[in-house]
Symmetry: C2
Subunit: 425 residues, 2 copies
């Protein structure tokens, strides 16, 4: 197969006809598959079923602190859960807060507190004319939805394989006091799968924000979610900030949503003690505390961070072949055409695909009408606005291998079809 | 014993001396007891331990709708949990939303949405000069903390054994468009234990609010938490509003916090479909969904509403004697003095005690210094401001019977002591 750019108009027209036929043949199969979200597959959920039996009716229901986890109290979570998550993140257990089943909920709470009450002695965002957030792109649509909810103006920042463009980040953060935060997924980013380089992490730790209430929203959702045997050991934001003394600049989040159960995991939050103390004062208004039985269930099941990391190897055994199947299909069907680029992540839940400019919406539509729902084109950009209409997030984790093969067959046909339509216009 | 009012100055002085001695003797015991909150005791928590084994590692983890409860999805909760809570409340399952472990969190969410985004097409409260809430007193301190958080001006409304003074409520709600809500605990109210009369419920259902975004926050926290064998069947807000057609006027809340586990129960929310649809649009930003495994655990354990109500008889067997011990002590030690009044609730978690005006703070202080922490005086009023400095919330549920006897001995001494100090001034 030749690159499309090297083919004659007649060759392209013939190829369009052929691809259209293939597409219509596929449509006739009346498939119905959903690849829109980064959901674990059922076989991954099965991995953690024994955890449900960790706490039997005769279990000791006291935490290490002596508190009965069944009762009210302990807004910040149980001691042993703090230790477990701190070890995962490379954080200080005294700087941990353990939440409910959703780290998104904790991110929302942090934004809500800054919006309604203000933090660090600053004016509540609701009283300001303009609040801005930096949004490395492509990024996570639910992050962007949170900041959009609070009327925050979102500014896209380009990323490469080392992370966000730190020159641009620094310029905004240090020069504009209305910039109050930045969304980061530092490890196996959503959707690119990249890991921020140590230099990038150091550059974050060295920021001197113009706004006292600027915070890096460091969503470490995929911190131990590796797809390769020897995972990289990226510099932690904790270590980098300890060096610069800039310890209050970040809010770090993680959860077991993709370690145990997405619907019933445990979320954790990490920030400097003075930040925690301020946030807890407000969080204590909206809840008496989160589910400590589920925290204890997790801690008793895993025992320690090493075992939790070992558990991830079982996920990897299921996920790595799915990622390989997607990449193989792209290498086989799309690479020879020279029309698109994609990431080859070493972890996380997504592959980021850049289609020919102006075709992403069309590709997603073709897939939809062919029976496969993808993440909406544009979803990886603030306001769902991908100026190039190019980026598509591929989520290979939920479908079975057989479904994935079918879905990728359709995806590759759709990419070709849209590219050829454009070239033959 | 004579009423204090009938005693001479010399008799009072002698009694003060005697009471002071009794108090100091008690202090010497160096007790340390906490009766500040409405917490179930450990033996109540033991009642539900078998629920932890409801979902074993081989359990079918699918809800009635066929959804895998372990995965993301179903923001509004699982079908069978909606049915269970709807049956408890006398509501329509289609008007239910099942949340996490905290109904307080759902109340906060409702306020936050009205504050940040606005509801029913109305201006967000954050953009208004003044927003008011009616607060029947004495009431629940955490309710007041929620409205205070959002800068809402709280207006106390008197209550009697039938509920809030509905003449006053009607005047405010129908005459003042800045009145956006009212806090209600309609059944076994916190702290009085009263049950709103059917006439009161009908009066609520007949309200014609000046503000389109006025809502009754109907916190049915103790709906099945009876202390007597044949519990009353109060008119539900659902039935009353169905009659008036005023179906969108209330937000109803309940939870299993005091049925199963306070730290790990399930909260539920009930309102008209159009309200639900609007709120869910916003709730879907802050979370992907609540813990559906815990919902399924509850539903599989109880099976149906009848069994859940039957389960409450086990709580009653533990709690009724504790309430009786408090009431016996008050009848024996305080009633003859003719200085105080208190409620004799048929359900709920509290006894509301009205001490001689101007002594509540002193009584709480005396108890504290004697080794028993009570709910702060004033906590049952907005802004912690009890204009009479009279109301004290007694929470008999957590201490053991022996501890409760000691605590009540101290409490009665403290009430006498404070009353005598005042009379001998």
């Amino acid at each position: 197969m030749k690159k499309l750019a090297e083919q004659s108009a007649a060759e392209l027209a013939a190829m369009l006809k052929e691809t259209k036929d293939a597409y219509e043949a596929f449509q006739a199969k009346k498939l119905s598959l959903n690849m829109a979200r980064g959901k674990p597959g059922p076989e991954q959920l099965d991995l953690t079923m024994p955890m449900l039996e960790t706490l039997r009716s005769d279990a000791d229901m006291h935490s290490a602190s002596g508190d009965d986890v069944r009762n009210y109290g302990l807004l910040d979570g149980i001691t042993e859960a703090k230790k477990l998550f701190a070890d995962i993140l490379g954080a200080d257990p005294a700087e941990m807060f353990i939440g409910g089943n959703s780290s998104l909920e904790l991110m929302f709470a942090c934004l809500q507190i800054a919006y309604v009450k203000g933090i660090a002695g600053c004016t509540p965002w609701s009283k300001l004319d303009e609040v801005k957030f930096l949004c490395p792109v492509p990024g996570y649509d639910r992050h962007f939805a949170l900041t959009e909810y609070f009327g925050v103006k979102m500014i896209p920042v380009a990323t490469d394989e080392n992370g966000p463009d730190m020159e641009t980040v620094r310029k905004y953060v240090e020069g504009d006091a209305s910039v109050k935060g930045i969304w980061c997924v530092p490890v196996y980013a959503n959707p690119t799968g990249i890991v921020y380089s140590d230099d990038t992490v150091r550059a974050f730790a060295a920021l001197k924000p113009a706004a006292k209430d600027f915070r890096i929203f460091w969503d470490n959702a995929y911190c131990i979610h590796t797809l390769v045997e020897n995972a990289r050991k990226p510099l932690t934001i904790n270590a980098a900030c300890a060096e610069t003394g800039n310890t209050g600049i970040f809010y770090q989040f993680c959860s077991t949503s993709k370690i145990t159960f997405p619907g019933a995991g445990v979320a954790a939050f990490n920030t400097a003690k003075e930040n925690l103390a301020e946030l807890e004062k407000h969080l204590g208004i909206q809840t008496i505390g989160f589910d400590k039985i589920n925290m204890l269930r997790h801690v008793r099941y895993f025992g320690n961070a090493e075992n939790m990391i070992a558990h991830m190897a079982k996920h990897r055994a299921i996920l790595a072949p799915k990622f390989a199947a997607v990449l193989d299909a792209l290498d086989r069907e799309i690479a020879p055409l020279g029309i698109a680029q994609w990431t080859k992540p070493e972890g996380g839940y997504f592959i980021s695909f850049n289609a020919p400019k102006g075709t992403a919406k069309r590709i997603v539509q073709l897939c939809k009408e062919g029976g496969v729902t993808l993440t909406g084109a544009g979803a990886t950009y603030p306001y769902k606005n991908d100026p190039d209409d190019s980026n598509i997030r591929i989520a290979p984790t939920y479908p079975s291998p057989a479904e994935l093969a079918q879905a990728m067959e359709l995806f590759c046909i759709a990419v070709k079809y849209a590219a050829l339509e454009q070239l033959c216009k």
